[in-house]
Amino acid sequence: MSESQAPADAMLPLTKRELARLLTGIENGAPAAQRILRERYRHSGKARTIGITGAPGSGKSTLVAAMVQGLRARQHTVAVIAVDPSSPFTGGAILGDRFRMNALAGDAGVFVRSMASRGALGGVAAAVADAIIAFDTNGFDVVIVETVGAGQNEIDVAWVTESVIVVEAPGMGDEVQAIKAGILEIADVVVVNKADRDGAAQTASTIAAALEIGRKRAWEVPVLKAVATTGSGVDELLDRLAEHHHYLQTSGKGQWRWEHRVQHDVLNRLREMLLRRMLGQLPPDQLSQLLAAVARREVYPTDAAAELMNQSSKP
């Protein structure tokens, strides 16, 4: 490892092309990208980071576009990392979030980057965390991370930001849905989008009621209504996010959560490295043979995993 290869002027702002290339390197786990981030990491932590998640079709991308316009009006530069799922079958992806952000085109204070989740070994949470470092140390004031709120992978991604918005649309289901463990638990702000549709008030009050059942917290999660297509409610959302940022800064909660996120991030990276190393050390065909045996129901899955671990740890 040669840290010394990084240039002395490591903190000069990157051009758009260099930044775009760095982001590609991050996604691909390129050592050159890691060298740049290693130098920059100590200078990171200045940007505000906001995660936004919710079911497909709830209007996240449109809401992000409206938020970016609002943040630009408040003189903030904004980077957006828009994550869409990769196909579990081909590894390909259609990244369509940019499509809803066309209104942001031509503004030099905005940078939108689409990212595919790339499956279990892709490490999208780590890639997003690294992309945040890249934007943060390149002078962006706010970094927004958008993910489809469909599973643990996406919750991991949301965890790399300091404030998390959960977007719901009217008609999300009854109160039992709302109190199920999962996505609402990670919300710092809930937005009921498409609030011009029937059932928005009902959905908002159901969510608010569900949130009240939990223990009292110093930060009461606001449930806001918005219409992303018109920008209605977006100013209030930005105000609440600024309040949440202030709350994190002044309450000590921000530091607590940062330490928690650091732990999550490092363990996440460790898990990926271990898995890659172990799979890389297996004798050829070992994995496929064992998987075939499990598929024939001759080997119990836990035994197969243990066998793979033993194989890879042999000298």
């Binding site: 092309r17 590609t24 786990g29 050592p31 990244l95 369509g96 940019r98 031509g106 990276r269 890659r276």
Partner: protein, 140 residues
């Protein structure tokens, strides 16, 4: 040891529809085919200006750019895209086009750097092969 190095890096392809025609079925079919070939397709949708397309190619670090044009305005739009690509230093990014492009316009488009022209009826596998060949040339 670089344990996070991924063995296969998916290609990132930007697909855009410049100009004012509102028919994007062809672009969507191509997007699907590229996805199914394991590529990551950044789909920017309808009514893109050349400026928007090139800015997106820059920010997304696209390995190739595909333009779908059915309006007949290709002789205006495509040169502008190529001019902006050069201005941004993206000369090495292959640009291909699809849609309704009369045969007699193809030589002029190729002369300004368009490497592939795919009209109606082009087999999807041909487009996939084309991108794989073009981007491999770029990487080497």
């Amino acid at each position: 040891m670089t344990e996070t190095q991924s063995p296969v890096r998916p290609l990132r392809i930007l697909l855009a529809k410049p100009g004012l025609d509102g028919h994007d079925r062809g672009a969507k079919v191509v997007a699907r085919a590229l996805r199914d070939a394991g590529m990551e397709v950044i789909y920017t949708g309808l009514r893109q200006t050349p400026e928007m397309i090139v800015e997106a190619a820059l920010q997304e670090d696209a390995d190739a750019v595909g333009l779908s044009i059915l309006s007949g305005a290709h002789n205006t739009l495509v040169p502008r895209v190529m001019e902006l690509m050069r201005a941004q230093g993206l000369n090495d990014v292959p640009v291909f086009i699809g849609g309704i492009i009369p045969d007699h316009d193809v030589p002029a488009l190729k002369a300004i750097g368009i490497t592939g022209v795919f009209g109606p009826g082009s087999p999807l596998s041909e487009i996939v092969d084309f991108i794989q060949t073009q981007t491999a040339r770029r990487a080497s």
